[in-house]
């Protein structure tokens, strides 16, 4: 599979989306929570997070959502992300190598749009899934 896909006809059910490898540091999280107006000690302060029963400061779910969106828009540069859902299955620690990945599960033409359905996930090197979700991307068609 190539690193990007531009047209609906160029991708099939079962095809994998090019993975996005990331490793959000504490500094990255501090920057994100500032711009996303999510300031809370649970995201940036290990001690505060432990008092809340967490193992340490965690990566916000909204940041994980942002990484999944980035993987999709980088892989489908001509596409439009229509929907993104994410279940937060486990808390995501800072300074951990993470991989966003995805696979195409369905293709559909509806209301004049060419839509790709995908399963997406965020996991660590051991395959532990922190976030699991789905996405819908509209792509241009060569026939249009």
């Amino acid at each position: 599979m190539s690193e990007t896909v531009e047209y609906f006809e160029d991708i099939d059910i079962g095809d994998e989306i090019a993975e996005l490898d990331i490793c959000p540091t504490t500094a990255d999280v501090v920057r994100f929570v500032d711009v996303a107006r999510m300031q809370s000690g649970r995201f940036t302060d290990d001690e505060y997070a432990r008092q809340e029963g967490l193992p340490g400061a965690i990566v916000p779910g909204n940041m994980s959502l942002g990484f999944l969106s980035r993987m999709l828009t980088e892989f489908f540069p001509t596409g439009t992300l229509k929907e993104l859902t994410a279940n937060f299955r486990a808390t995501v620690p800072h300074n951990t190598a993470l991989t966003c990945s995805g696979v195409v599960t369905e293709k559909q033409m509806s209301n004049g749009e060419h839509i790709i359905f995908c399963d997406v996930m965020l996991s660590n090197d051991e395959g532990e899934r922190y976030v699991q979700g789905t996405a819908l991307v509209a792509l241009p068609s060569r026939a249009a």
Partner: protein, 146 residues
């Protein structure tokens, strides 16, 4: 067996507005490492079909309500955590936009899992721009359990 105040379902409980600057969009894009210049480079963005800079899709999460959920009078569920999000992206968000959010409790339901009963409260935020176009709907699942 779940019991709660059903009269609050679907009722608006918060309304809030934010203006969006180019800097807000660029900083958000950079904070998640976006590489697409559509989100960061005005000159490039003008050459695209969008005709100018737009925000990355999940920028819609920055329009935060600080209102607490209304008291649903749940009969259990002392502890709460974020179970997930569903975002529907309907129109691009651009610099200069004023985005108004309206929050409602869209759904309350109970699930039984390996660890017992859990209550799911779905908080729906509908985001509209200054032209009255709906730009996104964000549904957040809050899980409550004892």
């Amino acid at each position: 067996m779940l019991e709660y105040d059903t009269s609050l379902l679907g009722k608006e409980f918060d309304r809030y507005s934010y203006s969006v600057s180019k800097e807000d969009i660029v900083e958000f894009a950079q904070s998640i490492g976006e590489t697409n210049p559509l989100y960061t480079d005005e000159a490039y963005a003008k050459t695209t079909s969008y005709g100018g800079l737009i925000a990355p899709p999940t920028f819609c999460v920055v329009f935060r309500s600080y209102a607490r959920l209304p008291d649903l009078k749940l009969n259990y569920g002392k502890r709460g955590f974020d179970g997930g999000k569903e975002c529907t992206f309907l129109a691009p968000i651009r610099p200069g936009d004023t985005i108004t959010g309206v929050d409602r409790i869209a759904q309350v339901y109970e699930k039984t899992g390996r660890s017992g009963n859990m209550i799911f409260i779905v908080r729906e935020s509908e985001l509209t721009n200054q032209r009255g176009e709906k730009v996104a709907v964000v549904r957040q699942s809050l899980i409550r359990r004892d």
